[in-house]
Assembly symmetry: C2
Homo-oligomer: 349 residues x 2
């Protein structure tokens, strides 16, 4: 778990630590990665960018400052990190990760708990994109997870998919369970799914995963007409609706209109605060809301559902589900619509 | 839903509003309560008390200031509120709540979304307890929930139970489901449950609910010896363990030692920040963590589980589950240990 890398405060896990020891020498159960690129968490990048009014130099300076001070990339305001891509430099003889020197990998655990040192001053990054080319090293622990990048895919594309691979995996699990429950109860009602932020990375994968898991009807909710057109063209949702996710009544009306009923499963994939109430209102009694956005407020969700007397199950979107990397890369391969949206997003970055 | 009572910002639900219109006249679907007592949320009261160094007059002044400014009692720092007790003064002719003038009720929706006016300056409150005797009025909406207080119970005791009645109800649902899944799969492994903060209000009810729902083995984790003795005497848990919930390794070791395995279901009922990682570590793969504490950090839970590669389902503790008031009051009646702990806690207040 990397407890020996925690410098301050003592006794907490690496993710909760203020500072990690990122020294280069690895323990027998660790792996050192030569880092080539960071992928900052969207909420973190937005906060930094807004704080500095879009000034890329200032954003770069603050990211460098965070990493050198904390020994990891964890935005002190949002609490979030991101992920990295690199090449295995050295694998300890007792590491259980099965990695070999020279393999190109993406780390599937957050940067918030990954010891990290940057050696090039981020000189190749303009501070204006979540994708950060860099040189340096990072340490993986025994319980970390890393995926070897497919040789036949653009690494940037694979990285973008792996970054959010927990979302489609958990969506698939929840939808499958709902479908199975209905079948077992002899209830012929089809399962309906709403994905808020359906044209985004985690959103488009979640839509594809929901359909494959047996959702009969899906709606992708997007904020603007351009995303509506892109998601419609990708063909990943039964219906595409435009609504502001922060407007509870507007959002729930859009979902209910699109599906004909409230959603059995609502997946929140938009990184803006204030979407909790709309998601709860858009969900049927007995249904489930999965929150993947790091902008989710725990108390707003808990008190909102209580205040609405809404009998919904609310899940904290766990980024780890066994098999999540394979499932997400499989969707990229099998669903042209997913590839199309990811490619467009990367090109726009 | 009370949208017409939202003053600022427009369009949000009452819980998310900065300010509500708490005027006395009710709409045909509303109910006005003559308020007799507020029960402040524990996290909120602690924050206020610590901020003012235990100065009761300053705490009282700030609570009055919050209520008069916001038209509701919602701590701006913790985001939480509490609940209230009072007598039905007037029920609109189209209110679906089934309340009659003169009935003594507790509101089961949070104060964070309840229009409230205090008329006695909180003169009878010393600012040193979560229980706030007062005079004033509050408004219930059509979708609010209120429970008529049992005539044969001390109202303060009933209120304390109803305040946390969502916790035992959701615990019972999750444990029952786990038991049923095992039975269906022909898996004879008994279901084990850990309740962090087991001697507290929501904790003791959750322990009792877990046992009745079929948990074969339960552990109540408490922070100090006095609580260990009280919970042991109450007889609500198979084992009682002492551990600091903020120490992930200490907590998970205590739970695993007590149960012989990690817990299938872990229920977090302690109102201190930093318990997310320990709860995840204490839970078996494939298990469930239910977070009831308003001090829970969404991102710490999500990133923590991911960082530990922990395949656990994490639930936001929804305070509303159908039948929750009846279930909790039933536990108070049926479980002498619950009554014992609640009575002691109220006496100590």
């Amino acid at each position: 778990m990397g407890l020996h890398r925690v410098v301050q405060p003592a006794g907490v896990l690496p993710q909760a630590a203020w500072r990690l020891d990122a020294s280069r020498e690895i323990a027998p159960n660790e792996v050192r990665i030569r880092v080539q690129r960071l992928n900052l968490d969207a909420a973190s990048f937005r906060q930094l960018s807004e704080k500095h009014g879009g000034n890329g130099d200032a954003v770069r300076a603050e990211v460098l400052e965070i990493i050198s001070t904390r020994g990891k990339m964890q935005n002190p305001v949002t609490g979030s990190g991101g992920m990295l891509i690199g090449v295995v430099e050295e694998a300890g003889r007792r590491s259980p990760l099965g990695l070999k020197a020279g393999e190109r990998v993406a780390s599937l655990v957050s940067l918030t708990l990954t010891p990290l040192v940057i050696t090039d001053g981020l000189a190749r990054w303009d501070g204006r994109s979540e994708q950060v080319p860099c040189d340096g090293w990072a340490i993986l622990f025994a319980r970390s997870i890393a995926a070897v990048l497919p040789a036949d895919e653009d690494p940037q594309l694979s990285l973008a998919v792996l970054d959010v691979c927990g979302a489609p995996a958990l969506t698939a699990r929840v939808v499958s369970r709902q479908v199975e429950d209905r079948r077992r109860a002899g209830d012929p009602t089809p399962v309906s799914v709403a994905v808020i932020g359906g044209a985004g990375k985690s959103g488009s994968l979640s839509l594809a995963a929901a359909r494959r898991a047996g959702a009969a009807r899906t709606v992708g909710v997007v904020p603007v007409a351009a995303e509506r057109d892109a998601l419609t063209a990708a063909g990943l949702a039964s219906v595409v609706a435009v609504a502001d996710a922060r407007d509870p009544v507007g959002l729930s009306t859009a979902v209910t209109t699109a599906l004909g009923t409230p959603a059995d499963v609502t997946v929140v994939c938009v990184d803006v605060p204030g979407c909790e109430h709309g998601a709860v209102l858009a969900t049927a009694d007995g249904g489930t809301v999965i929150f993947f956005s790091m902008a989710t407020s725990f108390s707003a969700a808990a008190l909102g559902a209580e205040g609405l007397a809404a009998d919904v199950t609310m899940l904290v979107g766990n980024g780890y589900v066994p098999g999540h990397a394979e499932l997400a890369l499989g969707l990229l391969r099998a669903e042209p619509g997913v590839r199309q949206l990811f490619a467009a997003r990367i090109a726009a970055d």
